[in-house]
Amino acid sequence: MYVRFDVVKKLGDFALEAAGELGEGLTCMVGPNGSGKTTLLKILAGLLRPDRGWVEHVGVKAKVYVGELHVPPDAAAVEVALAGRSRFSPTPVRREDVEAARRYMRLLEVEDLAERRWRTLSGGQRQRVVIAAALAAEADLLLLDEPLANLHGDWRGRVMKTLADYATGRIVVVTTHHGDVLKCCRALIALREGRVAWRGDPQQYAEPLDATCG
């Protein structure tokens, strides 16, 4: 199972021109704001059509992209996790869907929040519920846009470890700004101004990612 791509997409002044290959396991995609990470993920998910080029999914049966979800403030957390089960059937969610949603909530340690309303959850708790929703989709290609947003130090590492374990037998791609978690990734793609600046083994990626002090 793999995904190969060679695409060009123009959005106003910005142009994405990227080519590469994704294999099984966890791939991290890094790059400054506006370097084209989200655009590339959406193209790989089939949500955006490239102006030129192609995306080839080999052996991929289901692909899921999770970025921002609108959630009504009164929704229970488990209802958000259930969103991940949308692709399985058009009929109302069943007991097995609720069980799967809760199973992935447990994995991210938010199962005890299942009945809590969305407006009462912190940013980090919401983020973990959204990740649980993404995992509950059980897709073989999972594209996660900024899953570490709102998560603090310790949790970033734990979520990445969970994603790395989940990625056995699947292709999982995450975008991130956090250099401290790249150890978890099997492969790394660095984008800069719409182009692939570097790709390969994250251990050999030397460029400082989080030069936040000036």
Partner: protein
Amino acid sequence: MRRLLLLIIPLLFSAAVLLGPAGVDPHIIETVRLPRALGAVVGGVLLGVSGLLLQTTLRNPLADPYVLGVSGVAVLAALGSYLLWRLWGLPYLGFLLGALLGAAAATAALLLLARRAGMLVVLMAGILLSYAASSALQLTLLALPPEELGYIYVGLQGSFAAYPAGVWGYVIAAAALVLVLFVYFNSRHVAALLHGEEAAAGLGVDVKKAVIYVVGAASAGVGVAVASVGPVGFVGLLAPHMARWVAGRQRADMVLLETAGLGAALALAADLATRLLLPRELPVNVVLSLVGAPAAGWLLWRYVRKI
């Protein structure tokens, strides 16, 4: 709650059929009260479910076919089409087709607007649409000879008394049931639209299909309701909120049956109140607005407090 509804609806239905100034008169029951009670059930279910669909896809807690002008445009188009089809001697078929078409056009327009504008803009546009349709309706009525005005006027006001007696009544009820089943068997995809169209697409939902289903089902619901009982207000707003409140869930697929049941119960109760509690019968919208307007105000207040 589902079990409680299974108890409440038959109770309200029996009350609607058995109670009245004429007592238990089989003739009155068959020709007047039974069709009217059936009309309340069918209208309540259709408007409740349509309201739920609109609230979910517009991501707008105040969406309601009546408030957003969908019912208003449907009535206007129905009357226009009635006048046209009268020329071929099929005015009531024209009325139904017009109602369906009008509801579909208004629903599609609101959904398109919602992609570009915020919730309050969509709401204002819907209210303006409803005013415009109402004025145009009054002007169109001038084209109707006064002797024909009487019957159709009841329907244009919104009244469960306008529901057809006999076989047509049962045909419409069957159509409503089919519609609810159609929505039920597609409700998981509709529920995903709550998170936004792009998010739903990312989660593997065929959004184009889901939106077409929603526009089709909501406008069929409003169209059939308008063609049979006229523009009845606020059931579409209140029933989904009551359902979410009793079920403790927001997802459309988890509150659909409760919404349908509470829509029927609300319509039956409102109609009983207009018939039995008031010294003289008034349009059912009077009672529904009495409950609905403050409820809408409260929802708006909750929304405004958050921004």
